[in-house]
Symmetry: C2
Subunit: 454 residues, 2 copies
């Protein structure tokens, strides 16, 4: 083997700046609207929930944002992350394609989420905030925020969807191990939670309810803010360390990608990987195809509408123009919890509308098949979310076997699947079925979109 299996960067090569794609787009994304006035939200609307530094990052059109030394210091626990060449997967597929994967599973939380949890905790601590609240579904984001809070002496309070809280105790324990406090949602601790419980004492909860509880607590206390793990501009901004490192790593072996493939839920992993490459493409320095892969059961880019919608199920958040299946869309249960979101990052939606990226949808059994093939060749059990990207990589690599093209394919393996093994067990036992959204289901939820005069 002449080419290395892993391309490593040393600490001196850690990126010092996050990249803001907004600076290089032909047009800016549409504004976020206040749900009452339908006018663009301003910093004052966001101040009860977020510190000034993050609000500024949310709206800036500066191309680069310096990463604070206090954040770099924590990033160094696991960054720069390795870029792997999938020699064994290539051999198993008999493909002339070169497949690279940027592995984020070595982070404290086991995913890419700490890339933004750490700066969010830092900026809040620097602003004098003592506690962060958030919601979590399966628990990846709650784990990342609990870790980040432990690094800056912040309390971390997490509302976890009760169904996950009861069924997936490992994530809950991991959050507690990092010092976080976790409540099943709906809870008796908030008016929002009590209202739900009064009507449905056995409510299994939802991400929408958990958001309402976390936001209510943050809005009601001056020493407490709220943190979000995807969707927003500043979250995608922080994740661009992934793509910046990957560019430097591929350059070390004299390569650049023909195809960048990432999975999309709220969009932060995909944006973090893709935006630096998109900059190179927009500047005419790189001829690259950028492909988003979403679950067929929750296909906001490929089947959703591009419209103003709420970020949460309950309709409490500002209105964002985005690809959406409708805020009251309930996806069929699939195991890639991190991809079960009705909407898509407004920034990524805008970029998709501009025709700068493409999107495909995959059903879950094809994804788990790719995940198991990957585990048996590359030795890493991937989280269910990135198996969507892996399925698309396998598809493309097999296409290259037909055509003989030696394409360079880059993907982000955004997390390990150690706490998702029950889903692998279900797949191996033949218990999983493929879900695709029906036209009726889509029509019904899209019919409930808020009316925004255009």
């Amino acid at each position: 083997m002449t080419e290395p299996s892993r391309i490593l960067l040393d600490e001196a090569e850690l990126p010092r700046r996050w990249y803001n794609i907004v600076a290089d787009l032909p047009s800016p994304p549409p504004p976020v609207l206040h749900p009452g006035t339908l006018r663009p939200v301003g910093p004052d609307d966001l101040a009860p929930l977020f510190p000034t530094a993050l609000i500024e990052q949310e709206v800036t059109d500066d191309r680069w944002v310096d990463i604070p030394e206090e954040v770099l210091d924590v990033y160094r626990l696991w960054r720069p992350s390795p870029l792997h060449r999938a020699h064994r997967l290539e051999r198993a597929l008999g493909t002339p394609a070169k497949i690279f994967y940027k592995y984020e599973g070595g982070s404290p939380a086991g995913s890419h989420k700490p890339n933004t949890a750490v700066p969010q905790a830092h900026y809040n601590a620097a602003a004098g905030i003592r506690r962060l609240t958030t919601e979590t579904g399966a628990g990846q984001w709650g784990t990342a925020l609990a870790f980040a809070c432990s690094q800056y002496g912040l309390d971390c309070e997490v509302w976890q969807v009760r169904a996950s809280y009861d069924q997936k105790p490992y994530r809950r324990i991991m959050i507690e191990t990092f010092g976080g406090v976790i409540h099943p949602s709906p809870s008796e601790l908030t008016a929002a939670g009590r209202a739900v419980l009064a009507e449905h004492p056995d409510s299994p909860g939802s991400l929408g309810i958990a958001i309402s509880e976390a936001v209510e607590v943050a809005a009601g206390r001056t020493d407490t803010n709220y943190a979000l793990g995807s969707v927003l501009n500043h979250v995608l901004l922080h994740q661009t360390v992934i793509g910046e490192e990957a560019i430097a790593q591929l350059a070390k072996v004299g390569l650049s990608p023909d195809l960048v493939i990432g999975c999309t839920g709220g969009g932060s992993n995909f944006g973090g990987l893709a935006f630096p490459f998109l900059r190179e493409k927009l500047a005419g320095r790189l001829d690259v195809t950028i492909r988003a892969v979403e679950p067929a059961s929750c296909p906001s880019l490929t089947r959703g509408v591009y419209a103003y919608d709420f970020g949460d199920t309950a309709g409490l958040t500002p209105l964002m123009k985005m690809h959406t299946l409708g805020h009251d869309f309930i996806p069929d249960p699939i195991h890639a919890g991190g991809l079960r979101y009705h909407g898509m990052s407004p920034l990524l939606s805008h970029i998709y509308e501009l025709g700068l990226i493409e999107a495909v949808a995959k059903t879950q059994r094809e994804c788990f098949e790719a995940g198991i093939r990957f585990a048996r060749t590359e030795g890493i059990v991937p989280a269910p979310e990135p198996t969507h990207a892996l399925a698309a990589c396998v598809e493309e690599a097999l296409r290259c076997r037909e055509t003989g093209e030696e394409k360079v394919i880059l993907t982000a393996l955004c997390g390990h699947g150690h706490l998702d093994l029950a889903a692998y067990g279900a797949y191996l036992a033949g218990e999983l079925v493929d879900h695709e959204i029906s036209a009726e289901q889509l029509g019904a939820s899209v019919a409930n979109l808020p009316v925004v005069p255009g």
Copy 2:
């Protein structure tokens, strides 16, 4: 921060040879005896279970053994592993000591076990073997062997202690994800299993029974061999890549350790870390203290006797002179499953008898406390086994705070705790108690040692 958080080696710096401490000891370890004849076992006795290459490694006194290219090729998936400086733990402890940890949790199985599973699978495949059998308790070793077999096209059949099989499905699913076949033990598939089930239909199993089943199947088929994950000389030999890399990594920052601390169960993690440093000490090139840390509930080095004993509970294996609590000793239930072994590697026991290393025992709550402190500072949730070493590191670092000594402390973080979170949950809920072996318990099991004329 002037010193790096992680010291990385590139692939060209991967060790090319395993180190055999036997070559440098003042006396060789006592021979392994046949349980029937009480005479030293020869290669023919081992041939039904192991390939020639591994039998040769078991008995060699060559100082160096070349690592085959086919093994290096798989090692490169995760090796060289990183050496971390525990800056944050040091700060939290207020110690002038410098604490380094060699992290093996990034391997495919999440522990140091693949360091030997990979060469064992390679040598068996090269010898024409088609299938490996083994036993596993909690499942770490079974996972490592299933991964290794997937790399060389071998079938892997694992007998897992039924209590773990039923209670810890994640490890079982991970073994299956890597392509292994797993049976709860006792099983109906072997005479040994059927005999147990006839008497105790609801038997929860034991490591001893599982060994008997795996060995029976391997011994009865010419295309099938058996693999062991610790205790034996060739296993410790393979693990020395850990210590060799650590020497090179510390040299990059101009340091050498004053103290090397590792946890001990069967001894493979400890030997792998410590033996290369012990070579340097024996050669007079390094003044270092080497400390083994074992659980107070299963303290073979600090409380056991040094005598010939069986390697398994049922008394089927050859007799090995080792520190032992007696082969029918049943440790109180503690969560560090990998440390629950009645004996200790004969090679390590011999080295302890020579006075070249020291040993201490730790109770589990102190260990989990250290594990949580580590998670909240360094961001990695450690497996319960290495929390024993971490507890000893914390103890020493606090001693340095008193004395002002700037000791360099090196430990091996031999695995992550992602699949051990239930134990953390029990600790956080205050449900764990400390077990120490009683004099009666020890006396009773040591009274059953086999009689070997000296």
